[in-house]
């Protein structure tokens, strides 16, 4: 059959040995829990390191993008979203409050715009390009002009620190990381990386919120001569039984235990009076007298439309 011209095993009788090979040669002897520990910490470590380093790079790059360029880039992003249903007088009154605080940031290169979003959850957002969005729910919740001014000042602080750009950059970075993990590792790995990544992001978010608080407080103190009312919103939201409204506001504005205390400490350190007369909200800004919109706010956003 073959051309080697050598004795083949066909030519003679053979002994058969029925022994079985040693068990376990083809399986790596490693305790699965050890493997699990190494891998889980590996994935967490790599994700945290990657997300954090993207965060630092973004924090370093974002402030060097000129606001003018940012405005140009995002100028038409949020234009179309302005809901026609928003009562014009309310937007104008809001605009007036914004002007009162933004005056104290004279070297701003933004041309700020306000939008009122028809949502029952109290929230406010700084959007790329210089747009501040405030929800109907937030306007319904505030009780004094000082309170609202601080919210707007806080959002101005985000623009001042370029947090909206940093958030955008980190979001893109995070998606890239999760995308890579998703291709490589699939479901479980992606979930684990998402949790680790979000916790890392939260650290950045917290620092940003504190910095924005400080900036906003400075504007409020400059305008009213005191900082009374600045932390009223947190107290309201905490006092209200509507837990989901709080959850909604905190999801973008994490409340790290002592935010109110921190605000007071900042004010004290800067020598801003903690007490003073709160200015009343103008009648145009006040919550509509219809009680139904106050008692059942965030639970079902659809019902308010």
């Amino acid at each position: 059959m073959h051309s080697f011209g050598v004795p083949s095993w066909r030519d003679h009788d053979l002994t058969f040995d029925p022994s079985l090979p040693t068990e376990g040669i083809n399986v790596s002897r490693v305790h699965p829990l050890r493997e699990a520990l190494i891998l889980v910490f590996g994935v967490i470590g790599v994700t945290v390191a990657t997300v954090a380093s993207i965060g630092f790079v973004v924090d370093w790059v974002a402030p060097s993008i000129p606001p003018k360029y940012e405005v140009y880039l995002f100028s038409d992003w949020f234009e179309a979203e302005e809901p026609a249903a928003a009562p014009k007088p309310r937007a104008e009154a809001l605009r007036a409050v914004l002007d009162r605080v933004s005056v104290h940031w004279p070297d701003s290169e933004y041309r700020f715009r306000v939008q009122i979003w028809d949502q029952a959850e109290p929230n406010a957002l700084a959007l790329p390009g210089g747009t501040i969005a405030v929800t109907e729910g937030l306007l319904d919740a505030v009780t004094s002009e000082n309170e609202l001014a601080f919210v707007l000042g806080h959002e101005l602080g985000h623009f001042h620190n370029r947090d909206h750009l940093r958030g955008l950059g980190r979001g893109v970075g995070m998606s890239l990381v999760l995308f890579a993990v998703g291709i490589g590792g699939g479901g479980g790995a992606a979930q684990l990386a998402a949790i680790a990544g979000q916790l890392t992001q939260r650290g950045f978010d917290r620092d940003q919120e504190s910095a924005a608080d400080e900036f906003g407080l400075g504007l409020v103190a400059a305008e009213y001569g005191h900082t009374a009312g600045a932390s009223d919103l947190f107290e309201h939201l905490r006092a209200t039984s509507d837990a989901s409204a709080l959850a909604s506001y905190l999801s973008t504005h994490p409340l790290h235990g002592d935010r109110v205390i921190r605000l007071e400490a900042v004010a004290r350190a800067a020598g801003w009076p903690l007490t003073g007369e709160r200015s009343a909200l103008g009648s145009k800004l006040e919550a509509p007298s219809d009680p139904s919109s106050e008692t059942e706010p965030a639970a079902d956003p659809v019902s308010t439309e």
């Binding site: 066909r10 083809n26 790596s28 493997e35 479980g188």
Partner: protein
């Protein structure tokens, strides 16, 4: 807030429960399977099985036929999760090695049982084929593995001892 907590508990709790289920039940299933494989390998080990195509010189063959043995098995959730993580770093996927080992040996032992039950005495030209069934998304999708072992069963005038 309670809603958010509830969702978080579900998001973490369900996979965690599945991991525990996979680790404990999956581990027990594997140990039982190995015990069964070892027992049957020992019982049928006196049946010669080689991957030669030719027949030893001393054997007088009366009859020959094609026989097959196959098995499809899958890993537990815990191992699939670990394998998914391993795909990120690359390298040896230890948790899948036992899967392949079990599948191979199971298919081979079934091939031997088939041979004996049909009244044959030896196997030559044993081959093995592996295929992956129904792949899901990513490494954690599905690891349903089929191993097919096949060979030519020989009926010998004087069975080997």
């Amino acid at each position: 807030m309670e809603d958010a907590m509830g969702i978080a508990v579900l998001q973490v709790g369900i996979p965690l429960a599945l991991l525990l289920l996979g680790y404990f039940v999956g581990g027990a299933v594997e140990r039982r399977h190995y015990a069964s494989i070892q027992e049957r390998e020992l019982r049928w080990r006196s049946l010669p099985a080689v991957n030669f195509r030719t027949v030893p010189g001393g054997w007088i063959v009366d009859d020959a036929t094609l026989v097959l043995g196959n098995v499809v098995i899958s890993v537990d959730y815990f191992k699939r999760f670990l394998a998914g993580l391993r795909m990120l770093f690359g390298g040896r996927v230890k948790v899948y090695e036992s899967l392949m080992d079990r599948a191979r040996r199971e298919a081979l032992v079934r091939l031997k049982v088939e041979t004996v039950e049909r009244g044959y005495h030896a196997l030559v030209n044993v081959r093995m084929e592996t295929s992956q069934l129904a792949s899901g998304r990513g490494g954690s999708g599905v690891a349903g593995i089929e191993v097919l072992a096949y060979g030519t069963a020989l009926k010998l005038r004087t069975p080997p001892t």
